[in-house]
Symmetry: C2
Subunit: 309 residues, 2 copies
């Protein structure tokens, strides 16, 4: 599906179009079963394909609308971000972390295979993400110098978002916070890194593949991504407290069972719902300068706040 | 230390110069303790600094001599490769893999901290490696377009070498081979991925930072790197069977205890030593086209075969 062709579609059709396209894109960018070692590649494909809401790819494609980012760069960014996200889930589910047996409705990798395989699947998916993001094959019809410059910047931003100043840093703070009483500000900082950094990177990579962003454009997208990222986590906490495992495709009620601080445990359910709604408003406001080109980003902010799983 | 200044030094002085410089380079490219989360950054620095023979950085700097690769690119490549190498050791030492308590003469990360921290330290070091490799800060005095093109190619090669077609793939084959009888060809394939891919990447990154390699230059360096990579592993197996833990800085005799196939277990000690010597000759032969510019690469081949730890 071309990003531009999708302009006439309803939001639901657009979303399903991106999700379907992502299965093909991931299939194309993952190692095949005919390559050695087959078992590792099977496990990488088991966890990365056929599952997930693909929130990060949706943000990439929606942000790509802003500046008509070329499809090959959108595909690379979306696949790379999803690989980083999936690897983090595989490692996060391991016994030494959250010790979870169910993910996206399927047995987690260390349950389906073994712990050592889960460790290597995560490690290899992270490396593959950077191989995809820096892949120059099939980009020859684009302006070579501008594309190289953007790709290098995208690698840099992805690495920062995935590392100790982003996702891994948030995981470390999360680990250290189990059983502790966090203030709202501390909880927010943890989530800004743990899930927020990668969601922000999704918006930024989608946009910066199309042009070098001005400071004002960066700031507006930052504000949007910050609001959506926090809203995503607030809603996650609400769903963990209110939905069942079958609906979520993962174990519900884990946060309370693990004695983890959440928005619901700090603010209560009603105030958490009000906060999510306020953040949705902030996200819309931040997009005002982009006019109709930001339609998909607006619709995604709505989806993230109103989702049921 | 500038790569070119080192030309008049003895091999030992040159080697120690690179090793000392690498501590400073890694210190500069690792997150500081004043950045959040401090404990994760402390653990990353604990395992990455002040230890190791820095074989990969030595190969980067030696290969950089061939085409006068600019120092900022050599430093980035060397730091990134060492971070990938160190992360792989941290994960490899975890209980679900080799379960080792001693590394470079110090407690391993999961022993000194805990398993979850070891998992995150490895994950964050891999991300940091790609952040460093794609870092554009301080490169402005170089030709911008050529440098971008080289950096993007270096990110791509590093990602391939680290992932499932390289280091992670070799680890997976290694895991699957415990307790099995491997042929010499199967053992060689495992090592070509597990340690060979990153050693080859060291040579290639050091060289390609200086120019776009011709097919003949690539082939010659490939042959050198292949010989040195295998020799490295043969000597590792010889040392594991003959040296003690204090000399190695890690647990000796692990391979036999773990029932792992090695060159010594398949070929015997004498034939293994003869093979290492033959590979050293092959490495020297491959470097013939480069003349005196390949002096450090020659000396490194000698070091790798003649080392005692």
């Amino acid at each position: 599906m071309s990003a531009r062709l999708g302009a006439s579609l309803s939001f639901l059709d657009w979303m399903q179009g991106v999700q379907t396209a992502m299965e093909q894109v991931l299939d194309r960018f993952l190692p095949t079963l005919t390559q050695v070692p087959a078992k590792l590649h099977e496990a990488m494909r088991y966890t990365a394909l056929d599952g997930g809401k693909r929130v990060r790819p949706l943000l990439v494609f929606a942000a790509g609308d802003l500046f008509d980012t070329p499809l090959p760069l959108l595909e690379r960014a979306a696949a790379a971000l999803e690989m980083i996200h999936v690897y983090s889930l595989v490692h996060d589910d391991m016994p030494c972390m959250d010790d979870d047996a169910l993910r996206r409705g399927k047995p987690t990798v260390h349950v389906k295979y073994d712990e050592a395989t889960a460790l290597l699947v995560g490690d290899a998916l992270q490396a593959q993400a950077f191989a995809v993001m820096s892949d120059a094959v099939g980009l020859s019809e684009l302006d070579a110098v501008a594309t190289m410059q953007r790709q290098l910047g995208m690698v840099q931003l992805l690495a920062q978002a995935a590392g100790s100043a982003g996702m891994c840093g948030g995981q470390a703070i999360d680990l250290a916070s189990v059983g502790m009483t966090l203030s709202l500000a501390e909880l927010e900082q943890m989530h800004r890194l743990k899930t927020g950094a990668l969601l922000r990177a999704s918006v930024m990579l989608g946009a910066m593949g199309g042009k070098t962003l001005t400071a004002a454009e960066s700031a507006a997208l930052d504000e949007y991504a910050g609001a959506v990222g926090l809203a995503f986590q607030v809603v996650d906490d609400i769903l963990d407290a209110t939905a069942d495992s079958a609906t979520l495709g993962k174990t519900a009620g884990k946060d309370a069972a693990d004695n983890k601080p959440t928005y619901v445990s700090i603010l209560g359910l009603g105030e958490s719902q009000a906060l999510a709604e306020k953040l949705r408003g902030n996200a819309h406001q931040a997009l005002a300068p982009f006019g109709d080109k930001a339609r998909r980003l607006r619709e995604l902010a709505d989806l993230i706040v109103q989702r049921k799983a």
